[in-house]
């Protein structure tokens, strides 16, 4: 089966700065892939290169086996859900959704039923004659989603579609996108800086940093087996300990561990034990977060039951070797 999207050594420069630095990426048909990273990492630029809103300075882009990197946006079989929604303010919801169909030469008689169906799919059937300004942000993004999906593109592109919504709407729309992907099985490339979005939605996540893909894998792989310090710190909470050359293995390095895998030890029950001094304790609702200082740096971890120690108390912290990852210093 031909893959939906293939990027090879794709490069985009702004002046001397490489916003996208020769990245390779393959997305299979029906796959939901997320580009995750901090702002400025090149994820949005990558999406724009795929959609044709920007032209690459090098490399090749193939969609369904066809090379498209020299094609303008309107000749590519992609459809984008924009951050702002980008609904045409002078058109009704139905006209907005019909626009892509019209441009693709779908016979007029087929447009009406298709629009009607897709509005039912995104659960907005009563909104056909409304104008965008008379709708909430969440409703607009549903229409934007319908407008992109109705043309049945080879790849659906999402440019941080939920970043302008408040938390409740965000979760609703996230569930909606998830449901639709399960039901319809479209191919999607989704850009976000929000890791919980990425975790919840994706088949695979590509973590980007400084124009490069640091790691690509399933959400579990990304979280459990981060390939670099950047991925470890960007995805999920983490503590790191500075290790001098002789401590664990020969070169100096950093040991990373999830706070959820750290615990207080009383006897010698853990594989690894480290002495620490409590600096502060916060109650976060349901759990207590304990901050402590060790000889190798500050750490924190959570405890469900109230800790029987206070600030300045000496404690012992333990963890399993398999839960920690060691990165030598470069």
């Amino acid at each position: 089966m031909v893959c939906a999207l293939r990027l090879e050594r794709v490069l985009k420069r702004y002046g001397s700065h490489a916003a996208v630095d020769e990245i390779d990426l393959v997305v299979e048909q029906g796959e939901f892939l997320t580009l995750l990273g901090p702002s400025g990492c090149g994820k949005t630029t990558t999406l724009r290169l795929i959609g044709g809103m920007d032209r690459p300075d090098g490399g090749t882009i193939e969609i369904m086996g066809r090379r498209v990197d020299r094609l303008p946006s309107y000749k590519r079989d992609t459809a984008t859900v924009f951050q702002s929604g980008a609904l045409f303010p002078h058109l009704t919801v139905a006209e907005n959704v019909a626009y892509g169909l019209k441009m693709r030469g779908v016979p007029a008689a087929d447009i009406g039923p298709k629009v009607k169906r897709i509005l039912e799919v995104v659960r907005m059937p009563g909104f056909a004659d409304r104008y965008p300004e008379a709708m909430s942000g969440g409703q607009r993004q549903r229409v934007a989603l319908a407008r992109a999906m109705v043309v049945e593109p080879s790849i659906l592109l999402f440019d941080e579609p939920m970043s302008a919504l408040d938390l409740k709407l965000k979760l609703e729309l996230r569930a909606e996108i998830h449901r639709l992907h399960d039901e319809l099985g479209y191919t999607a490339v989704f850009v976000t800086h929000d890791q919980s979005e990425a975790m919840a939605l994706s088949d695979r996540i590509a973590v980007m940093n400084k124009g490069k893909i640091e790691q690509i894998g399933s959400p579990i792989e990304i979280f459990e087996r981060p390939a670099s310090e950047f991925v470890y710190t960007f995805v999920g909470e983490s503590c790191s300990l500075e290790l001098p050359p002789q401590a664990v293995s020969d070169p100096a390095g950093r040991l990373f561990i999830r706070p959820s895998r750290l615990g207080l030890v009383n006897g010698a029950g853990a594989e690894n034990v480290l002495m620490a001094r409590v600096t502060s304790i916060e109650y976060l609702g349901g759990v207590y977060r304990i901050h402590a200082e060790t000889d190798h740096g500050a750490i924190f971890f959570d405890s469900v039951k109230a800790p029987d120690v206070g600030p300045d108390h000496a404690i012992k912290i333990g963890w399993k070797s398999a839960d920690a990852t060691y990165f030598p210093l470069p």
Partner: protein, 296 residues
């Protein structure tokens, strides 16, 4: 948002924006052919000779410029044009400022009505303005009738063909532009400052000179330049409302062009007029920036 994302948003090269430099071509071509080329032609014309019967004879002579810049009659005309423009600009900017300040302090529909009034002069053709004032100023006009019928004046009065009438007509032409430049600057000023100044015990006059005027300085300077530049180029109003002796440079240009059929002289006068206007604009621009930098 980092600079890379910001840049990518701004310079987004979608289908339309990829063609951007080309989109400038029609406008630039038009400006070149209808503005640039004729002005170059005018410049060339100003060095031609005008021996008599013919409109011009090709030559490279400075005679026209020497005449314009040394002949006492011409120099008087230049001085009068500048004088009239300065007077008009001062009167216009003052009127526009006080009316803009008045509108600035209004709200709601009153504000809209006054804005519409201020917009009025911009919509009226110069020739209609002339015709209007020519029915107002002469001895059988409205002013004279109003004065005699109310007993304010014992006899008919005629103010047509006076410098007063000329300035009234001239300032009518640029007053709207001045009003809107000043109002846009005033709109950027917090009205609470006036109340604050009054609270601190400053009299209205003091508040005006110490708070409002310094803040609105930029708009006033822009309005002054506008009024001056506009007035420098007008001759119809000056000629139709002012005294017959009030010959200005633009009037001389049309006289040379249409009546004397001396194209090189008309061209030389035009170049001199453009140079004076450009110099005035540059000087005020320079003064503004120099003052601005001293404050920063």
């Amino acid at each position: 948002m980092s600079s890379a994302d910001a840049i990518s948003r701004r310079s987004g090269i979608s289908g339309l924006t990829a063609n951007i430099p080309w989109l400038l071509v029609p406008g630039l071509l038009f400006i070149f052919f209808v503005f640039g080329w004729p002005l170059l032609y005018l410049l060339r014309m100003s060095f031609n000779d005008h021996p008599g019967a013919t409109v011009y004879v090709e030559a490279w002579t400075l005679r026209n410029y020497v005449f314009v810049l040394t002949d006492p009659g011409m120099l008087t005309e230049i001085a009068k044009t500048v004088y009239l423009s300065v007077v008009t600009a001062v009167v216009t900017v003052t009127a526009a400022f006080f009316f803009a300040q008045f509108v600035w302090l209004r709200e709601g529909s009153a504000r809209l009505i006054f804005l519409a009034i201020a917009l009025g002069p911009m919509l009226i053709s110069e020739v209609s303005v002339i015709i209007g004032w020519r029915m107002f100023f002469p001895s059988n006009g409205l002013l004279s009738y109003a004065m005699t019928s109310t007993g304010l004046s014992g006899q008919k009065i005629n103010l047509l063909s006076t410098e007063l009438a000329a300035v009234v007509g001239l300032s009518y032409i640029s007053v709207s532009y001045c009003f809107f430049s000043i109002l846009s600057v005033l709109n950027g000023i917090d009205r609470g400052l006036l109340t604050a100044s009054a609270d601190l015990g400053a009299s209205p006059v003091r508040t005006f000179f110490t708070v409002l005027l310094p803040l609105a300085k930029g708009g006033i300077a822009a309005a002054f330049t506008q009024a001056f530049v506009f007035t420098m180029g007008i001759y119809a109003t000056t000629n139709a409302l002012g005294p017959d002796s009030l010959w200005t440079v633009p009037y001389e240009i049309q006289l040379q062009m249409l009546t004397r059929r001396n194209w090189p002289m008309a061209a030389a006068l035009s170049i001199v007029l453009i140079v004076i206007i450009a110099a005035a604009a540059l000087v005020t621009q320079w003064l503004r920036h120099r003052k601005g930098s001293r404050h920063v």
